[in-house]
């Protein structure tokens, strides 16, 4: 094992995959400036700074991916993806299908988002559900450095476009990472804590809030199971249903806006597939229908915290049908 931040875990995955496959290249705003070690090892042709123009960065990646390269692009902050929506959604997501399968688009788009730096609404906006809703794209958001490395390696090897979101609040937190080759498959959730009374489902930094909530709940005699989705598309239906079938209670928590968020899809999945096993209503915790404020208390109030997750789980455990 070695200790890496999530940012360095991304660098380690890039290094290993660029060594493994000469078709992998990385470009974006400041990529060559920030990841000088990659430039040293792989040269300026495979590690490139770009103009500050997200649309052409993404479009260039799509064109390159469709014709034999395997690009990884860094678009910095998630809201900047709005400038690249045509390239990601209409080109990367659709040109395989409308061409009758003539092309594939193995590309990874990196973007940061989430609370922690007080950078406000135009740098912090958890828009991952937009891409879940768009066909042809895969969506990943890791909660720790180990998964960040393993998932990024899997994303680079995947033949589909992958949106890879990095939680700002986790970016420079150190964590244990296995040394050597390890690839974390896309579409597989991780059960981080087992428990039979209530299921807490989350992704990104909110996973850690769920783990804190589970600790608090344990003190009250409630055994919470914590599931880290890791991939939002494909989503691990099997893991979610297996857990809720046992516990009969579900809290979904994420930092993204609650309205039509990933939590809504999970709630619908459980209502459709495991209704008879539910002992209490499903609870969704997420951001309000509001942009994120820069002010620290407001930014933090946007995010489901451990106490609100624990309170919701406790309510479910004492719920009585009228």
């Amino acid at each position: 094992m070695t200790t890496l931040t999530l940012h360095d875990a991304v660098g380690a995955a890039l290094t290993e995959e660029m060594r493994r496959d000469p078709r992998v290249l990385v470009f974006g705003e400041g990529v060559a400036t920030k990841r000088h070690d990659l430039v040293q090892e792989f040269g300026a042709r495979r590690v490139r700074n770009t103009p500050l123009a997200e649309g052409i960065i993404a479009g260039t990646a799509v064109g390159a991916a469709g014709t034999g390269l395997r690009p990884v692009i860094d678009l910095l902050f998630a809201p900047f993806l709005c400038y690249a929506m045509d390239e990601l959604v209409n080109s990367a997501g659709k040109l395989r299908y409308v061409s009758g399968g003539q092309f594939s688009f193995p590309l990874v788009t990196l973007a940061m988002t989430g609370a922690g730096w007080g950078i406000g609404a135009q740098h912090n906006h958890n828009i991952e559900a937009w891409f879940v809703h768009s066909p042809g794209l895969k969506v990943v958001m890791p909660s720790n450095p180990e998964d960040a490395k393993g998932l990024l390696k899997a994303a680079i090897r995947d033949d589909n476009p992958v949106l890879f979101f990095l939680d700002i609040g986790l970016l420079y937190q150190p964590g244990e990472v296995a040394t050597g080759e390890h690839v974390t498959p896309l579409g597989k959730a991780a059960v981080l804590r087992e428990g039979g009374d209530v299921t807490l489902v989350s992704y990104g930094k909110t996973v850690h809030h769920c783990l804190q909530a589970a600790d608090a709940l344990a003190g009250k005699g409630i055994a919470a199971e914590v599931i880290d989705l890791r991939s939002l598309k494909p989503i691990d239906d099997t893991a979610i249903l297996a857990s809720v079938t046992r516990t009969g209670r579900l809290v979904v928590a994420h930092e993204a806006n609650r309205l039509c968020g990933v939590g809504a899809e999970i709630a619908a999945l459980v209502a459709e597939e495991a209704f008879a096993r539910l002992k209490a209503p499903i609870v969704r915790l997420g951001g309000p229908d509001a942009p994120v404020a820069s002010s620290y208390p407001l930014e933090q109030a946007f995010v489901p915290q451990a106490d609100s997750i624990a309170a919701a789980a406790e309510r479910l455990c004492t719920f009585q049908h009228a």
Binding site: R45, A64, F103
Partner: protein, 320 residues
Amino acid sequence: MTHTQHETDPRHLLEQMLLIRAYEEAIVAGSTAGTVPGTCTSVGQEAAAVGVINALGADDLILTNHRSAGHLLARGADPGRLLAEVMGRSDGYCGGKSGSLHISVRELGVILTSTIVGAELSLAPGVALSQTMLGRPGIVVCFFGDGAACEGSFHESLNLAALWNLPILYVCENNQWQAFVHRREATSREHISDWAASYGIPAGTVDGNDVSAVLAAARDAAARVHESGRPFLLETWTYRTRGHFEPDDQSYVDPAEREAWLARDPIAMHRDRLVADGRLTTAEADALDDEVASRIAVAQGFAETSPFPDASELTRDVYA
């Protein structure tokens, strides 16, 4: 590629233009009759497509757009499979999933066709990057209109192509109309080629209705891209004689402008020149008309009898 062996034969250029015209007129008739979905035609722009495509080599890759029939047919696409695609049939080049608007034919090097105006410009640098990084010989040819040149992607694409030394031949088919808006209302300069200078990209404008002139200009432009490894922008000055999307009564078009361009019909101009020069007899020209008409009839028969895709196709090829 069959086009290379015919590339200097002016009769071949005429035949290709006639085929494109007949193909699109068949689609217009079908859409009027309700048997074929509406499309964006390129009637009046045949010389611009045929002249450029015949200047290219088999290794060159082509990105086109929603007005693509000319590029596809001149590159050698089968009109039956194209028409089947337009009609949503399983024998279409994309299995009926494209329809008329985003037809790609990878085996002909016509790739990544998007109908989002300007998307072809955003994709072209990446294709050229693959060509250079993977050591492939062909250049990238990107067809777009004056409308697409007003998108930010045009400017971002040219900037990056110049900055990264990408071998792209940008071909702006300036057909004077951006959907339902005349280019005079939408562009700050008379010519799109004027904008290329801002990016240090050499450029030129050619009479897009003169197929011989387009062929010569495109050969020169393609050679420059091959030799320099850098972009070039060629503007073909032409006219969309039909509407934006069939059916379209063109009530917004100045009749005098349209009449003036119809008098410069690229097919009639080329045919008359060949007859006047003694390179083609009237009887031979009429025979070409008949030959093309029978090819289109065969294509229609093929497309109409091609089955619709099975419902199981609905979710195939979403993911690789």
